[in-house]
Symmetry: C2
């Protein structure tokens, strides 16, 4: 793209375990790369953080809010009780046409509720899906859902296929993404009730459906989009992160005994990143809402916040919204009834 128009991102500066210090730091870094950043939160706290940086020439605007929705609160209840909470004010900026995308490291449930409130769901979607390239070893494989939709109906899973294909096309430029279904065996007929029914629907969906894949196929390039129930996807994402963390710790001690420490550190970081791609992209978009909202990890530090903002910008520039809407419309009717 030549000179794309600048993108305006509303960042919930109060969300996440290390807010506002790490969120503000990440926002400043992203602003330094040309993103217009709205820092939404307690103005005193934010200004205190901003004083650490040279920000006079950066496109940063502080937007005051009051209250934060914590992890573990009921999102719907909290939205009612805290109408000035940072996530709601952030979402309101987009609803009001002042910003183009929302980024939050705070409660996923609250972000989802605020995003639905502000943008609305796409036609035929009951609940947004979460996903993205969750395994660093498979950097272009989009897996969804990863925890938003548990107990999925097969017709919902077909929509994950379409939303994932939209991401694959607009984000990675893959023209005809290969869609696969995560199951326990490659053959048609292998799986539980849910995946067996989904298999049949995916065959009729009009998507470029390749059939089942197994757990080990999540590592590699065999598919561009992997469809799974959010329960399974969540376990997959967290297991991969857990392995990355444990292995990098294990190797750290092992390699430092036999390698120069910088070389060892390099290998260790590499392993960690290969298994934890949220660290690379900063977070994943919410799929199926009429707006761009990127949800990051609660434990995100500044670099990860910055990446989440850049991911949001890229989603806007790449036309992810239009692409998702198109893919959903193109699904064959018979595959999404129910």
């Amino acid at each position: 793209m030549n000179n794309p128009p600048s993108v305006r991102v509303a960042l919930d500066a109060m969300g996440g375990d290390f807010a506002p210090s790490e969120t503000v730091a990440g926002g400043v870094a992203a602003a330094g790369k040309g993103v217009e950043v709205f820092l939404v939160g307690d103005p005193n706290q934010i200004k205190e953080e901003l004083d650490r940086y040279k920000v006079d020439d950066l496109p940063i605007v502080v937007v005051p809010s009051s209250g934060v929705i914590e992890e573990g609160e009921s999102p719907i209840q909290a939205l009612k009780e805290k109408p000035q909470a940072s996530i709601l004010v952030s979402a309101g900026l987009i609803k009001g046409g002042k910003a183009d995308a929302l980024v939050s490291m705070g409660s996923t449930g609250a972000t989802m509720a605020a995003a639905i409130f502000a943008f609305g769901l796409m036609d035929g979607i009951d609940r947004p899906a979460l996903g993205g390239p969750i395994i660093g070893l498979s950097p272009k494989m989009v897996v969804l859902d990863v925890g938003s939709n548990l107990d999925c109906r097969p017709s919902q899973m077909v929509k994950f296929g379409a939303l994932g294909a939209a991401f694959s096309k607009s984000y990675f430029g893959i023209s005809n993404p290969r869609v696969a279904l995560l199951s326990v065996g490659a053959e048609e007929g292998k799986g539980n009730r849910q995946t067996k029914e989904t298999y049949q629907l995916l065959k009729e969906s009009g998507l470029n459906f390749q059939g089942n894949i197994e757990g080990h196929d999540l590592v590699g390039e065999s598919s561009d989009v992997v469809v799974c129930d959010g329960f399974v996807g969540n376990v997959v994402m967290k297991l991969s992160e857990g392995i990355g963390y444990a292995l990098s710790r294990h190797l750290d001690s092992k390699l430092k005994a036999s390698l120069k420490s910088d070389v060892a550190q390099n290998v260790v970081n590499d392993i960690y990143n290969m298994l934890n791609s949220v660290e690379n992209t900063g977070g994943g978009p919410l799929f199926g809402i009429n707006g761009i909202a990127v949800v990051g990890h609660g434990r995100a530090h500044a670099t990860s916040v910055e990446r989440a903002i850049l991911t949001a910008r890229y989603c806007v520039q790449a036309g992810l919204l239009q692409s998702m809407s198109n893919e959903l419309k193109q699904l064959k009717e018979e595959s999404i009834q129910s």
Copy 2:
């Protein structure tokens, strides 16, 4: 244990991708460690393989069979059509009191069907479960089910908890195993319908239930027994294997550039083994049948076959059968109705 009586293992020498050469080699190695091994299969092929080794003084008996049940055949159908198949003849040796345990690298479905036929299921069990310490990074964490039972009822999953606890006690000597439920969040109330119901039953089961764990907790020592639906467990097991394979390949090239090749190879092997514990134990027992049957990996080579035989011997010596039966009997009635 002081001088435990010798254990007799019936090995399906025709089962697995590299049978009979690797199965016979593994059988010979195990016999060298004092296990009495019945090699069941085509006598000509087996004798040809045996000619490669010095076996005159080893406790090896060749038992003729005719036919093999292949992966992908319908097990029930195949058992009817091939009554002299190696897996059936092997199971028959135990039924007839000639052997103490069954080991197969062949079709899991066929092994299961033959084992049910020969031994019968324990009271209250509909279908055997598969499991064991499937992640090398968590060498004493027993995960089940890993692919035998899909679409589990909550009461079935409670029984997995009891069977896993039996394994943990008898195999690892853990006196009061901590049982956890794999879900998407630690708090009670997180999960899909199946895990939410199972949570309630596990609380009332009499097991030492610790609550939910998440995907990343599968790495480490937070629990001794992890209960999950076979669909999820299968994905977990294969993902871990896939990551181990991919990482060890990746590190191989990376480390050999900066390390002596033997040191590098050591690290690479270490990674592989940490993520693939079937390679360490050779395979897992079938849980919930009235006999010891260890199912290995179809791709097993001799070392892995040998380990599977030693695992079977240990299960016999450690009294796994009695332990499983006891644990099932001790479950509170209200937790296993349905």
